[in-house]
Amino acid sequence: MTTSYQLKRVDFIFKNENDWEDVLSKSISKPPQELINELISSELKGRGGAGFPTGLKWKLSSEAVDDTKYVICNADEGEPGTFKDREILSRVPFKVLTAMAVCGHVIGSKEGYIYLRGEYFFLQPELNKAISEFEYYCKEINLDFKIRIFMGSGAYICGEETALFESMEGKRGEPRNKPPYPSSYGYMGKPTVINNVETLAHTFTIFKYGAKRFYDLGVQYSRGSKLFSVSGDTPKPGIYELELGMSLADFVDEFGDGDTKAVQVGGASGFLVPRKRFNETAIGFQGKLTGISLPTGGSMMLFNSSRSMFNVIDNYLEFFREESCGQCTPCRVGCQQLLSGIKAVKRGEKNAQYLDKLMRLAETMQYTAKCGLGQSVANSFSSIVENFREEMIY
């Protein structure tokens, strides 16, 4: 049953950033440990989708011993259906820059990079302008921190943090084995903090208002607010900041077109939730309180009854086949086989039981693929095939 949390609009992220100079100078006058404690007690989790506790990330990097460390802002927003980071960078860039510099202060880093998605090249001039203004102020307050933009080149996999490092080092964006983790061995083999754009923007809120204001939002295990990119069959597509922990039923009430048959939560690598599960599904990170709880990078795609779910999964698999880096076999071959498999079932060349075989293949990929891309193909595949089996066959 749903533990109903009404949909609550929040307005933190896009709220004015005019006081960034103030927030920056106040924050860097505090000892790193105090800032880390603040972040940890806010229970902020990474907003890129994986949900790693941000305070812990900063703490681990601050404990690593090295003269050179890096702060990287992951703006390789490639998940189909997300467009929040683009909005943050164009509307409140100084929040992100400030957060990067504060992070530099905390972990002892003098260099920051923004890995900007290739498709967002049009943001570059404005962002560079903001960076020079920012660096000018840093000089004024004697803060040694430089920020440089690195342009991506159109590869989805580079949103994976270690693939992103490889790409920045001028190589093919192929994920590394973990461990070692970025906090000890990141860009150029140096300790690195890598955070999503939205995560950094949230830390600004926390440094400005204190952890409590943030912690008071949301539910257990899923504190704070989050930006949602709403698209698909909805009368009001766009970006909305909402409190975490809401039930999907409430969400659909607000954004659906009255005929919503399913919602894809978290983009191609996320899960499809059919109508019958709207009530029992909450949006947040893993936790017992809300029943089934889905983590998400914030992509919410609504489908109404005119849409064929076969087309949706067909599109996702084409996407994964194209974007698989090809390094590990489960992902490279698995994506191809899943795609040709569902096509064969659709054409009637294979019988319906073949779908079960494909489900097992997807499960194998989940266990054996090297990185998040291959592991998460099963999410959308299994949830779509399970819930809309008849649409796969007929």
Binding site: G81, R86, G154, A155, G267, M301
Partner: protein, 168 residues
Amino acid sequence: MPGIKLSEKTIGIIQQVCSDFRNEGSELINVLHQTQGKLGYLPAEVQEVIAKELNISVAKVYGVVTFYSFFTMIPMGEHPISICMGTACYVRGSEQVLAEFKRQLSIEVGQSTPDNKFSLNCLRCVGACGLAPVVMVGDRVYGRVSPQMVKNIISEYKEGCVSEAKSA
């Protein structure tokens, strides 16, 4: 390798780009971006020069060029047309839009028109899912494109006059 022979001038341009990045192998992606910006595309011959300048193997350069979808080894048209095949665009009919572009221009994806005016490509999500389906011509974004609009979009560029009102 059979193919084009680069002029002294072209080689000079490539060498300049490489030295702008201190001839460092780790700057390969930046070098490729700049070179493609200047030459339009990155054929094998260009990659050979870059490999020599940065002192890395041609295989490595080729590996990177073919890995990233932004780099191309064939020349693009004067107005590169990209159709978004992201999920939001796809379910809202980008496939029909693509089919219409193919029909109007009589080319396939990855090809250019004989007069080199247009080239056709697909891309994955430009981050404008609220405007689905989305088409990009050069740097311009067209939102909520229907197959009926395709003819008009093409003719805007054929006549060389781009009306401001049409863009999203």
